[in-house]
């Protein structure tokens, strides 16, 4: 019998009876997603990876998301893949706005290293236990967390004549500055 996500949830609940596990609901939640508490995240991930039946050996990606007016504000998303069962499973951790902090899963899957750095770079979520939590995509001296919803896009107005007072249409006198038309191949 092929492994189903329900079976994964059942096994997880059996192994962690006390943890507050909650299935994400909604009309258009297309992937099987569980909310798990941050404290037991590393243990759960190790269990999911090492269990012979589940065998979630790969972490294809993880990322963050900012649900600004909602409380708690942030969440991190972990997409797990079991190669032997061709099954995907999604875990989510909710994170509060002050001191956003979540344990790092680099010890479970080394590939989480850059993903967590990227999430830190974009959202300022701190991953405790990460070997080297620095900015990755933005310059090191960047200030702010660009993908947070309260951070602006940084739009720069296009300079047209109607919105730039000192901009003039090219005057005929500028023609003098233009390069002379020459033939560049001697005949």
């Amino acid at each position: 019998m092929p492994l189903t996500p329900e079976r994964v949830e059942q096994k997880l609940r059996e192994r962690f009876p006390d943890a507050a596990i909650e299935r994400q609901t909604g009309d258009a939640v297309r992937d099987y997603t569980l909310y798990v508490p941050g404290e037991s995240l590393v243990e759960m991930c190790t269990f999911l990876r090492d269990d012979a039946e589940l065998d979630f050996g790969m972490l294809p990606w993880m990322g963050g998301c900012d649900h600004m007016p909602a409380v708690p504000r942030f969440e991190t998303v972990y997409n797990l893949l079991s190669l032997s069962n061709s099954l995907r499973f999604t875990l989510k951790v909710r994170i509060a706005e002050e001191q956003p902090r979540v344990p790092s899963v680099v010890a479970v899957w080394p590939t989480a290293n850059w993903h967590e750095r990227e999430t830190y770079d974009f959202y300022g979520i701190e991953f405790t236990g990460h070997p080297e939590l620095t900015r990755i995509l933005l310059p090191d001296d960047w200030v702010g967390w660009p993908l947070r919803k309260d951070s602006p896009l940084g739009y720069e107005e296009v300079a047209f004549t109607h919105n730039t007072p000192n901009r003039r249409l090219p005057s005929p006198s500028l023609k003098k500055l233009a390069p002379k038309k020459v033939k560049y191949r001697a005949q």
Binding site: L138, P139, P146, P152, L153, G154, Y155, E156, V158, P179, K180, K181, V182, Y184
Partner: protein, 205 residues
């Protein structure tokens, strides 16, 4: 008739002499003078050297092989078999900025990359030219946001802008030909630039 276009051949023949006009045959002396004038070029030495230098610079541009994003792939395509930039003398792509005299900024310049681009430009020996290839390096293109420099002309002087996203290789070739025109029309610097002027450019004196 106004709607028939005027026929303009590329080279017009000299107007024939009006019928009935008497044409004097040229003397042997006059023929000799014409022959001498045709074979000789009377000019100042300086302008002739300048002309020769411009010709040399325009017809052997060495671009820096430096690609940033999508446009770089089209820049590679002009070196490929179909477009073959060596027809215009610009096929020697150099890996080091110290050997190149044209920088084709092919792609979007991020804020993180901008200092690097500027440094590469400064490492190139004079005379040097810059082509901004594509919408991104000309003005930011579709990426009007926090991460992308809105036009590479904010950090280096640009000689030719090639529009497009990405420009077709033909458009880049046209840009290179425009640059050749510009080089041919420019006043070349011969010999080392006077020190006074260097200081002035740097704003010291």
């Amino acid at each position: 008739m106004s709607d028939t276009p005027e026929f303009k051949p590329l080279r017009t023949l000299a107007p024939s002499t009006a019928p009935g006009e008497l044409v004097m045959p040229k003397t042997a002396d006059e023929l000799l003078y014409e022959e001498v004038e045709r074979g000789l070029l009377f000019t100042k030495v300086e302008s002739m050297v300048g002309w020769a230098m411009n010709q040399a610079r325009a017809n052997a541009i060495w671009p820096l092989s430096f690609g940033l994003a999508c446009c770089a792939i089209e820049m590679m395509a002009i070196a490929g078999p179909r477009f073959d930039v060596s027809r215009f003398g610009a096929e020697v792509f150099r890996g080091s900025p110290r050997q190149a005299d044209l920088m084709i900024v092919a792609g979007r310049v991020s804020i993180k990359m901008a200092p690097v681009v500027r440094q590469l430009y400064e490492q190139m020996p004079d005379p040097k030219w810059v082509i901004a290839m594509g919408a991104c390096s000309s003005c930011g293109g579709v990426f009007n946001n926090f991460a992308i420099l809105q036009g590479v002309d904010k950090i280096v002087p640009v000689d030719v802008y090639v529009p497009g996203c990405p420009p077709r290789p033909e458009a880049l070739l046209h840009g290179i030909m425009k640059l050749q025109e510009k080089i041919l029309a420019s006043k070349p610097e011969i010999g080392p630039i006077p020190r006074k002027r260097v200081l002035k450019q740097k704003g010291v004196a």
